[in-house]
C-alpha cells in the first residue's frame, strides 16, 4: 500500500503560498498544515484553504501558541480548537512543555530560537498524554557553524529520550519559503544523521501524522464536519 505523507507545519504568506502548495504536491505530500501565529490571520488562511484544495492537496489550518506568551494558555487552546484544525504549543522552556502537556494542545515543538537542551524529565509529562512531539527541519537547515552543531546536539539527545519514552514524533518542514521545503525521503534522510532510522523518519511523516489527524477528528463533535476529511 502506498504511503501518504503529511507536512503539518508550513508558514505560507499571500505571495508564496501557491508555490509552496505546488511544491508540496510535486514532492508527494497528501496534506499540508498551513500555520499562523496570530488568531487574527485565520481569515487570510481560510481564503488560501479553498484555493489550495482546488490545486489537489488537503489542507489543515493550524495555530501555534506559546505557553509563555499566552495569557490563560489552556483557555486559549480550547478557543483555538474551535476555529483551527490543529493547535500546537511552541515551547521555549521545560515549564512550557509541562504547561502544554496539561493543556488540550495536539502538538508540541521547540521554538527555533530556543537554546533549550531537553532532558529526560522534560519529556516525562508527555508519556501517555497522546500528544505528538514535532521536529522541524527548517531551523536546522538555516543555521550554520556552531549554532547548527548545538541544535544537532540537542536534537540527537532529545530524539534518544523521545524514543526511549516512546513519545510519538512527527517530522515537519517548518518552512517559510518554498526553497526550505524538502521531499519526505529527503527529510527522513536528514533526520537520519540525528539518529532516527529511515523507517522511523518516514513513519514520522506518514503514519504518526495520520494518527494525529484521526485523533483530532475523533475529539470533535461527530455532528460537526471536520474541515479536511481524510480516509486512510
Amino acid at each position: 500500500m502506498k504511503r501518504c505523507f503529511f507536512d503539518l507545519h508550513i508558514f505560507p504568506n499571500e505571495k508564496n503560498w501557491r508555490e509552496m502548495v505546488f511544491r508540496a504536491r510535486e514532492f508527494g505530500f497528501k496534506a499540508l498544515g498551513l500555520t499562523v501565529r496570530e488568531k487574527s490571520r485565520l481569515r487570510t488562511l481560510k481564503g488560501i484553504v479553498s484555493e489550495a484544495e482546488a490545486m489537489g492537496i488537503q489542507v489543515l489550518t493550524r495555530l501555534d501558541l506559546s505557553p509563555t506568551l499566552s495569557k490563560g494558555f489552556s483557555a486559549e487552546v480550547k478557543w483555538a480548537k474551535g476555529s483551527f484544525d490543529l493547535v500546537a504549543a511552541e515551547c521555549l522552556t521545560g515549564k512550557d512543555i509541562i504547561a502544554a502537556a496539561k493543556s488540550p494542545v495536539n502538538i508540541l515543538f521547540i521554538d527555533s530560537g530556543s537554546s533549550l537542551g531537553l532532558r529526560e524529565r522534560d519529556f516525562k509529562p508527555l508519556v501517555g498524554s497522546q500528544k505528538f512531539f514535532e521536529l522541524n527541519l527548517s531551523p536546522l537547515l538555516m543555521k550554520r557553524g556552531l549554532e547548527r552543531i548545538r541544535k544537532l546536539s540537542h536534537l540527537m539527545r532529545g530524539l534518544a529520550w523521545l524514543q526511549k519514552l516512546k513519545v510519538p514524533t512527527i517530522l515537519s518542514s517548518g518552512a517559510k519559503e518554498p526553497l526550505e521545503m524538502r521531499s519526505p525521503f529527503d527529510m527522513a534522510s536528514f533526520f537520519y544523521i540525528a539518529g532516527l532510522s529511515l523507517e522511523e523518519g518516514l513513519k514520522g511523516l506518514s503514519r504518526n501524522p495520520a494518527t494525529l489527524i484521526e485523533t483530532v477528528k475523533a475529539e470533535r463533535d461527530p455532528e460537526e464536519p471536520f474541515p479536511s476529511p481524510f480516509s486512510f
Partner: protein, 109 residues
C-alpha cells in the same frame, strides 16, 4: 589477497532555484556541505564522483559509496545555496546502476 569489490550507489538529483550552475560549482557545494556535516573522513569515505550534470534542466547524477548513501543524501538535503544563490536540492532517486537510475528517474534510457 584482493580488496573487497567496492559497492556504489548512483543518485539522481534536481536543483530547485533560479539561475544556472556549472557541474563544478554544484559538486563543490555538495562536497563542502558533506564536509560541514561529516568532516574530512566523511568526504573521503563517501568517494563522491560527479557523473553528469544537465545545466539546462538542472538535473544531475552523482556516485557515492553505498555505505555513505544516507550521509550524502543528508548533505544534499542540507544544501541551501550554490555560489551564493538560494537553492534546494531534491533527490529524485537512488539506484545501483546508471542504466536503471536513468530508466526509473530520468526517463532517458
Amino acid at each position: 589477497m584482493y580488496p573487497k569489490r567496492v559497492k556504489r550507489r548512483y543518485i539522481a538529483f534536481r536543483i530547485l532555484g533560479e539561475g544556472t550552475f556549472t557541474s563544478r560549482e554544484v559538486m563543490e557545494e555538495i562536497r563542502n556541505e558533506l564536509l560541514r556535516l561529516y568532516g574530512e573522513h566523511g568526504v573521503a569515505k563517501a568517494d563522491l564522483q560527479p557523473i553528469e550534470f544537465d545545466e539546462k534542466n538542472l538535473l544531475g547524477i552523482l556516485r557515492c559509496e553505498r555505505s555513505s548513501l544516507m550521509e550524502v543524501r543528508a548533505a544534499l538535503t542540507a544544501l541551501m545555496e550554490i555560489s551564493g544563490r538560494p537553492v534546494a536540492l531534491h533527490c529524485l532517486g537512488v539506484s545501483g546502476t546508471l542504466k536503471s537510475l536513468r530508466r526509473k528517474f530520468l526517463r532517458n534510457p
